[in-house]
């Protein structure tokens, strides 16, 4: 059913189609009308759609957001405006301001020959070859909307047999107000796009950090498509540290060829409303993936992680561990589905979701699902929702540790199980620190954000 939420964007597209096309590369425009048709057919997913039952998407799109279709540059020096909380990672640092790749001439550290990290505008052939092949606009209304409006994106390409040693850090900055702005600017919607292509035996580690750099309401849709070739290796970390006026809707699509490995981590440290969807498909035998998520939420925050892992072929291994700590009136949801298709023998799979609710008002919805059509597989799934262990709390208090500190130690220990799995070592150390700060209430904001200054 088409409601006013959808109509806004249908009308916008009809009126501004030419402007969108004029300010976007041809390779992206090629898919645009089809995406629009698909969006008009589907609309936004309602809560009756199985994979969207825990987040009311239509409602999130009801407000009137501004969309920067004419691609006005918001003059900002991200190095000045913003200091990421994960500094000194000895990463190669890139910025995406709203949904625009930020070109600068700062030294990036040496990238091996043939490796591309840049704007999708500059590489039409690669984009034409891979764009929207995984993120099918006919299957998800948000992906359709993103594809119909996205005008720029980040392209990551690693050629055959190439290993990028230094981690690549991409900071997504949301900023509606130019520095020294005289007038009130509208709330902003951005449509981010990322395309990652790893050829055979390629290797790269990516870290995306989401931040909001001013106090407007933001709605960010994001579609990441990642092709992971034979024997290739991808680490994909996504960390969100935004504010309570932020809505993040992220759809990640990953395709894994034979003997490839993927390590995907989603960390929600501070947010407003967040929905992360992951669709991962094993297309080649012998591949493995590890998907980890950790969520720390309080106040009215809402975090919904939804995963689908499809074992199409035999001999693949998938591991999932998602942990939530929910305080105050926050709401968490985890729905994970592992689909083992007919013939995908010798599949191994483990899905675990564990949650702590610190108050009576906090809510957790958890739904681990296994669907198996092969008869020689080893799959397990489980989920728990519980409170802090009273006996442990009292034991610590008897040793002189205050109730507050004891809670903190337990919550930290709970989340650390996820963080300890992270292979990007500097990030792991940094996260231990950030998580502790977060639990202490010293991280009620992202550090660059105007809201809390």
């Amino acid at each position: 059913m088409i409601t006013s939420s959808e109509n806004q964007y249908i009308e916008l597209y009809n009126e501004a189609r030419q402007m969108i096309f004029d300010h976007a590369p041809e390779s992206m425009n090629a898919m645009r009308d089809q995406a629009f048709e698909d969006f008009r057919k589907q609309g936004f997913p309602t809560k009756k759609v199985e994979r969207y039952k825990y987040t009311d998407i239509q409602k999130l799109f009801e407000p009137d957001y501004g969309v920067n279709l004419s691609r006005l540059q918001i003059p900002v020096d991200p190095y000045e405006a913003f200091h990421c909380d994960v500094p000194n990672l000895s990463t190669s640092l890139y910025f995406v301001v709203n949904d625009m790749f930020y070109h600068d001439d700062k030294p990036k550290g040496h990238l091996p020959e043939g490796v591309i990290i840049g704007s999708m505008r500059d590489y039409p052939e690669l984009v034409a070859k891979y764009y929207t092949k995984l993120a099918k606009t006919s299957e998800d209304g948000i992906t359709a909307l993103n594809t119909m409006l996205a005008q720029d994106g980040l392209l990551v390409y690693v050629p055959k047999n190439t290993k990028v040693d230094r981690a690549i850090q991409v900071i997504n900055i949301l900023k509606a107000t130019p520095q020294n702005a005289q007038r009130v600017v509208p709330d902003l919607m951005v449509n981010r796009r990322v395309l990652i292509v790893l050829e055979e035996c390629a290797e790269i580690k990516m870290l995306f950090c989401d931040h909001a750099a001013d106090d407007r309401n933001f709605l960010a849709t994001q579609v990441i498509e990642a092709y992971v070739g034979e024997n290739a290796s991808l680490d994909l970390y996504c960390m969100e540290e935004t504010h309570h006026k932020n809505v993040r809707l992220s759809n990640v699509y990953i395709d894994q060829q034979a003997n490839s490995r993927v390590n995907h981590n989603v960390i929600t440290l501070h947010n407003g409303i967040t929905r992360n969807k992951l669709d991962l498909t094993f297309s080649g035998e012998g591949a493995e993936c590890q998907c980890y998520g950790c969520v720390i939420a309080d106040k009215q925050q809402h975090v919904d992680n939804n995963t689908l892992i499809v074992h199409k072929v035999p001999h693949c291994n998938s591991q999932e561990l998602y942990k939530y700590v929910l305080d105050d009136k926050s709401v968490g949801a985890f729905a994970g589905r592992v689909l083992v298709e007919h013939g995908a023998q010798k599949t191994t799979s483990q899905m675990t979701n564990q949650n702590l609710t610190a108050t009576k008002e906090a809510r957790m919805y958890t739904q681990p699902m296994l669907e198996i059509y092969a008869d020689d597989v080893k799959c397990a799934h489980g989920s728990t929702v519980g409170q802090l262990n009273d006996a442990a709390l009292f034991y610590m208090r008897q040793r002189g540790i205050s109730l507050q500190e004891a809670k903190l130690l337990l919550q930290n220990a709970f989340i650390n199980e996820v963080i300890d799995h992270m292979e990007l070592e500097p990030l792991r150390d940094r996260l231990h620190y950030l998580v502790e700060k977060r639990f202490r209430g010293e991280l009620n904001k992202c550090s660059g954000c105007k809201l809390c200054k």
């Binding site: 009292f394 008897q398 540790i401 205050s402 130690l409």
Partner: protein, 251 residues
């Protein structure tokens, strides 16, 4: 040190302590014995402030301070320590971090600066020797994967680290082999001074042969029904509790 008057306590609707009177002076060691379910563990839990129990009547003073008004952590800071009958496993919290937090919170309470890392490690090393605790345990999660003996020795190690004024050992000897019991008892004895006191809750006189109490109390149905010297423990070991029940007019 400790003065308990007419202490009543319940868990849920069930009254367990029905008027305990107990005075412990500096430097004294008291044993508390009694049949199962007589309220021994409840008494220790109430003294350290376990929120599961509710005090309905009576008073308890610890070095002149009203114990029952204090939070459990403050009772600990004042120098009260309980060696748990069942030490709790805390997955994900390392022994070292746990001990560091405990020591530094106590120092904060006393108005002292946190202990620096080198000092802390040195202290930890020294105290571990007292109960012959393996240094590998320091990096493990609190009590997780510890054997029964290691858990109990770990309790005494914590006692050594925190240097309490009054220690309550709640069946610290249960589940220990003779050698481990000797290590635990010797550890406790090493920590005893003329200014510290100890309450030993036990079913057996074996531990009491090693930790020599001056007083032995028999707790029965929530009251202290008999008090004597160390010989009382021996009599109980030989004859059980029936003769005491008879004495107080019960079958």
């Amino acid at each position: 040190m400790l003065e308990v008057k007419n202490l009543h306590a319940k868990i849920g609707d069930k009254e367990i302590l029905k008027g305990i009177d107990l005075v412990i002076n500096d430097g004294e060691t008291h044993a508390i014995m009694g049949p199962n379910g007589s309220g021994k563990s409840t008494l220790s839990a109430v003294l350290v402030g376990n929120p599961l129990y509710e005090v309905t009547e009576g008073e308890a003073y610890f070095n002149g301070k009203n114990l029952l008004e204090m939070k459990p952590e403050d009772r600990a800071h004042e120098g009260l320590f309980l060696s748990f009958q069942y030490p709790v496993e805390i997955p994900g919290v390392s022994m070292t971090n746990f001990m560091k937090a405990a020591i530094n919170e106590k120092r904060k309470y006393q108005g002292l600066e946190p202990m620096n890392a080198a000092e802390f490690l040195k202290l930890q090393r020294e105290k571990r020797k007292i109960v012959e605790l393996d240094s590998k345990l320091a990096n493990r999660s609190v009590n997780e994967g510890f054997s029964g003996g290691e858990k109990k020795r770990n309790e005494i190690f914590q006692m050594a680290m925190l240097e309490p004024k009054l220690s309550i050992l709640d069946e610290t000897d249960s589940g220990l082999d003779v050698d481990a019991m000797r290590i635990v008892a010797e550890g406790v004895n090493k920590l005893q001074t003329s200014e510290t006191s100890c309450i030993v809750i036990t079913h057996y006189d074996r531990l009491l042969e090693m930790i020599k109490p001056q007083f032995v109390h028999v707790l029965y149905k929530g009251r202290i029904v008999k008090t004597g010297g160390p010989e009382l423990a021996v009599q109980i070991q030989e004859h059980g509790y029936d003769w005491i029940k008879e004495e107080i007019g019960e079958e």
